[in-house]
């Protein structure tokens, strides 16, 4: 945390002392110059056309304004990018790597950080637009799944688990986990979750764990294998009860969140969920969900986190990647991202502290028919420590993923 503190001090210093600010500005000027003419290979999940279109827009903007060419490498699984960087490191490729910027968070970030696959710490906090990031009210922008970011990744958007339902089939959505179980019991075959280790499936496990665990504090610490079974016993009790009532009796699962959303549209499922509070509105605007779909959350809160962009240690275009990351943080890019028809992804900025013009952009935005207002979104539950991810996934696999042998 020392480094983080130092960054804070630096940040405050930057705002306070005009001298320091000039030095910062000069540094940034040289970054801009180095970046000019560079090509940035941005490896980002490519499963959502709306997001792809947004990235393409951003790429056009930075090419026009800063002379940085951004190529969106659409990946189906971020882990494979981590794997790629690792492979490069393992053969000693210290520079000129294939990946310049990754869309990342959570255990992928933790894994890269732990294995020294990321660029030098601190760069994210030197970005000019860092000043607008809402560090105070959105703690997850500097702590990713309990792991400090150390300025090795720059926040891009906020995520919070929200549930979607079709109001024509479901009048009063459940308000907590036991309500969900009750609903599944009364309506067999109409609820499911993506199969872990899919990110969304694991998130559902974490949500259920947070709702069933005796003491939520253990989740912020690394898994203790001695007490793990005991800690997760209530979770699996819940799942054991839930599974017989799942879609296809839990013999197979939706592949991912988008697949689950499609099953909701086809009325195979009654409830789906997303990490993007604006997802339902965006999908309605794009004709992917019926207009009667609405969003709900658990009263006691749902898991929330931040997603980031990170630069690998051997990126061949670090200045260019920084310029793009900075652009993604700009109020203009962040407002556009939050528009439901564009993407609907909540901002990481502190809107209240923005200059008046930029603030107005956010204030006048129509969040869409199915998006909950920020005050309706309920409390944010923190992500557990990344070690819970694989521990939960393995435990789940053993119980439900191995078939009957």
């Amino acid at each position: 945390m020392n480094r983080l503190l130092a960054a804070f001090v630096g940040l405050t210093g930057m705002i306070a002392a005009p001298f320091a600010a000039t030095a910062q500005e000069q540094d940034w000027q040289s970054v801009l110059e180095d970046a000019k003419g560079q090509t940035v290979y941005f490896h980002a999940w490519g499963g959502e056309p709306r997001i792809n279109a947004y990235i393409q827009w951003a790429a056009r903007e930075v090419e026009r304004d800063f002379g940085v060419r951004v190529v969106h490498v659409k990946v189906s699984d971020t882990a494979s990018v981590v794997s790629q960087v690792l492979a490069e490191k393992s053969v000693g490729k210290e520079s000129g790597g294939a990946v310049d910027l990754i869309w990342i968070n959570g255990e992928n970030f933790a894994s890269m950080k732990e294995n020294g696959l990321l660029a030098e710490p601190g760069w994210a906090e030197t970005l000019p637009n860092w000043q607008y990031v809402d560090v105070e009210n959105k703690p997850t922008v500097i702590v990713d799944f309990t792991v400090p970011t150390d300025g090795q990744e720059s926040p891009w958007g906020m995520a919070k688990l929200v549930f979607m339902y079709d109001s024509t089939r479901l009048e009063t959505p459940p308000s907590d986990l036991s309500g969900l179980l009750e609903y599944a019991r009364n309506n067999p075959g109409r609820f499911s979750y993506p199969q872990p280790p899919n990110f969304y499936g694991t998130t559902f496990l974490k949500q259920a764990l947070a709702d069933t665990v005796a003491d939520r504090d253990v989740l912020s610490r690394p898994v203790d294998s001695a007490t793990f079974d005991e800690t997760v016993a209530p979770l699996f009790e819940f799942l054991d009860e839930l599974h017989p009532h799942l879609w296809r009796q839990g013999k197979t699962f939706p592949k991912n969140a988008a697949d689950m959303r499609r099953l909701l549209a086809d009325s195979e499922l009654d409830i789906a969920f997303s990490f993007n509070p604006g997802d339902a509105s965006g999908a309605i605007a794009n004709g992917e969900l019926p207009e009667t779909v609405r969003t709900f959350v658990f009263e006691d809160g749902t898991i929330g986190n931040t997603h980031f962009v990170a630069i690998p240690f051997n990126s061949s275009a670090q200045p260019g990647a920084q310029v793009f990351a900075n652009f993604l943080l700009s109020p203009m890019a962040q407002t556009r991202k939050q528009e439901p028809e564009i993407w609907g992804d909540p901002t990481v900025l502190n809107v209240a502290a923005l200059p008046a013009n930029e603030k107005a952009l956010f204030d006048t935005m129509d969040l869409g028919p199915a998006t909950l207002l920020p005050e309706e979104l309920g409390p944010v539950l923190p992500e557990p420590h990344p070690s819970w991810v694989s521990a939960l996934e393995e435990a789940w696999l053993e119980r439900y993923g191995a078939g009957s042998e």
Binding site: Y41, H43, W45, G46, G47, E48, N52, A53, Q56, V71, K74, V75, S76, D77, A79, S80, V81, V82, S83, Q84, L86, E88, K89, S90, V91, G92, K93, A98, V99, E107, S111, M112, N115, G189, R190, R248, K251, T252, F253, K255, N256, A257, M260, R262, L263, A265, D266, S267, E268, N286, G287, E288, P290, S390, L397, Y400, G401, A402, G403, E405
Partner: protein
């Protein structure tokens, strides 16, 4: 062009080392980590720990059985469908008509076919919509386990639908040889039924040519990733998709276990191949014992109708799947139980072409280069062999086909390391070379039979006029073989377009093809976009096959003897 020689066959050695070399190196890159040796991650000692860890994975034996069972069953079923249909209908109008349907189906990529099939047979899919709610009373899709069923039936069906066209075209090529029609006549004039004649007289003669493609199908089906991900079981999944996810696990130590798993995959595929060879032996013995019985089986009308049904089903399923992809690509909203889209939208189509344009171009560049080089290499090899005084022995020949008989994932990860070490990863040339490894064997497979059947007297006649070897090749042999050469190039291009893992891993994401884009987009849930990209994948192979059919008929429009005879 090399000189006539009785010494070592230099072209073959060269090509084999170019292709089998990387494969063996890739295998080594898998074997070492499997035994615990991966210095970059700090593993310096050999141990069996990765295997113990692998064997502790829950559901491993089910995964292994699934890979083995679905792959072998799908392959044998496909072969049976093809052979029964060929036996019953070869030479008839029905046969010719269906042939025209099946050839273009070959250009449908596996993943695209699987996506279309999934939408056809899912409980919320097209078939259910056609009969809902008026006949079934379903206002909502029933909760039926059809796709991703734990036993892998849907996956087997998907594999069959895709392998039948391939094996059929291989059988067709094998049938295209002198005297086959006369053997049919001989059988019939001795009073044998059509199917009996095929199985007792024709099949034993053409089977050697179908065998290798069949083995390739088995190796492929037992280690398939994309079809398994779309249609296969998930609790647990077959071995190959699980391997890929271990290999991509952010916990990098899983790589050791994944490597051990890759060796297990190798064993599973090898086991399936050996099982098939055993079955093949039994069937051969049985069939041979029937040669002497004299049973004619003349009354095979019923059997012939029965043999038509599965083939028609496969064609219907594939055609319907493709048509659905076409519909989806223009559908904005299309929810159960609507049999046709509720809202159309072609903006995405323009988007897809706009965004997919560069990917399409890259795909074309790689496919064209890979097809050109593979075809040229195959020609070079065959031409050189024609001039050998000593007949070639089988060893080197087998090595050419090594990439077809080994599961891709068993050596791809090692290969990735190799390319990285060579500093080639992420370049066009590297991807091209990686594609060549998989494309060349198919090109060689497609070209060697037509080449060997070319009447050697043409070359002799030309030589007697004093023509040089080069001149004979360029002016006699190549033009005579124009049609098979173009078909070979088309097959090669289709194989290249279909490469997903090699492009992804060797291209490091810098080389983006419609196939990598398509898989990334399929990871989302937008069917319209998934359908559009699946169709984009289809374009290049389709154009290739069309050109291969068109060009010779235009070039040789005044040459009756060069027209396709069937």
């Amino acid at each position: 062009m090399p000189k006539a020689t009785g010494g070592p066959d230099i072209p073959t050695i060269l090509v084999v080392s170019l292709l089998a070399g990387p494969v063996c190196a890739g295998l080594a890159g898998t074997v070492l980590p499997a035994f615990g040796y991966l210095p970059v991650l700090g593993y310096h000692t050999f141990s069996l720990a990765p295997f113990w860890e692998l064997f502790r994975m829950p559901g491993l034996s089910t995964s292994v059985l699934l890979s083995f069972g679905t792959g072998l069953a799908a392959s044998i079923l496909s072969l049976a469908i093809v052979l029964l249909f060929t036996a019953a209908w070869s030479g008839t109008r029905t046969f010719h008509r269906l042939t025209r349907f099946l050839s273009p189906l070959l250009s449908v990529p596996h993943a695209a076919a699987a996506i279309g099939l999934a939408f056809l047979i899912a409980p919320s899919g097209f078939l259910a919509r056609l009969v809902s709610p008026w006949a079934t009373g379903w206002t909502r899709p029933p909760d039926l386990l059809i796709l991703n069923d734990p036993a892998g039936y849907a996956m087997t069906l998907g594999l069959v639908a895709k392998e039948v066209p391939f094996l059929f075209l291989m059988t067709l090529a094998a049938l295209n040889r002198p005297h086959i029609r006369d053997y049919y006549k001989a059988g019939a004039s001795l009073g044998y039924g059509r199917m009996s004649t095929f199985f007792k007289l024709i099949l034993p003669q053409i089977y050697p040519l179908i065998r290798l493609p069949m083995l390739a199908v088995i190796a492929y089906s037992t280690s398939v990733v994309d079809v398994a991900q779309i249609l296969g079981p998930t609790t647990p999944a077959p071995l190959a998709p699980r391997l890929v996810s271990w290999m991509n696990d952010p916990d990098l130590a899983k790589r050791l276990m994944a490597s051990a798993g890759a060796l297990l995959q190798l064993a599973v595929s090898a086991g399936a191949l050996l099982t098939y060879l055993g079955l093949e032996r039994l069937v051969t013995l049985w069939l041979t014992s029937r040669f002497e019985s004299g049973h004619r089986r003349r009354g095979d009308a019923l059997g012939r109708q029965a043999a038509l049904v599965p083939m028609l089903l496969v064609i219907a399923i594939m055609t319907a799947s493709l048509a659905l992809l076409g519909l989806w690509s223009a559908a904005r909203s299309w929810w159960f139980p609507a049999a046709l889209p509720q809202r159309w939208g072609i903006e995405r189509m323009f988007d897809a072409f706009g965004m997919g344009g560069p990917a399409l171009f890259a795909t074309l560049a790689i496919a064209a280069a890979a097809a050109g080089i593979a075809t040229a290499l195959a020609l070079w090899l065959l031409e050189a062999r024609g001039h050998r005084k000593v007949p070639l022995r089988g060893r080197l020949n087998t090595l050419i086909f090594l990439p077809l008989l080994l599961p891709q994932i068993s050596f791809l990860f090692g290969l990735q390391m190799l390319f990285l070490l060579a500093g080639l990863s992420g370049s066009f040339e590297a991807v091209l070379l990686a594609h060549l490894i998989f494309v060349f064997p198919y090109a060689f497979l497609a070209l060697s039979d037509p080449w060997n059947r070319l009447d050697p007297r043409y070359a002799k006649a030309a030589a007697s006029t004093g023509a040089s070897r080069a001149r004979i090749f360029w002016q006699i042999q190549l033009p005579l073989l124009l049609r098979p050469v173009l078909v070979t190039a088309a097959v090669a291009a289709a194989v290249s377009v279909g490469q997903y893992l090699p492009t992804l891993m060797i291209g490091a994401g810098r080389i983006v093809t419609v196939t990598t884009e398509s898989v990334a987009l399929a990871s989302g849930g937008n069917r319209q976009v998934a359908a559009l990209y699946a169709l984009l994948q289809l374009i290049i192979p389709l154009v290739g096959f069309s050109l291969a059919a068109l060009v010779p008929s235009i070039v040789f429009r005044h040459r009756a003897a060069m027209r396709l005879e069937r």
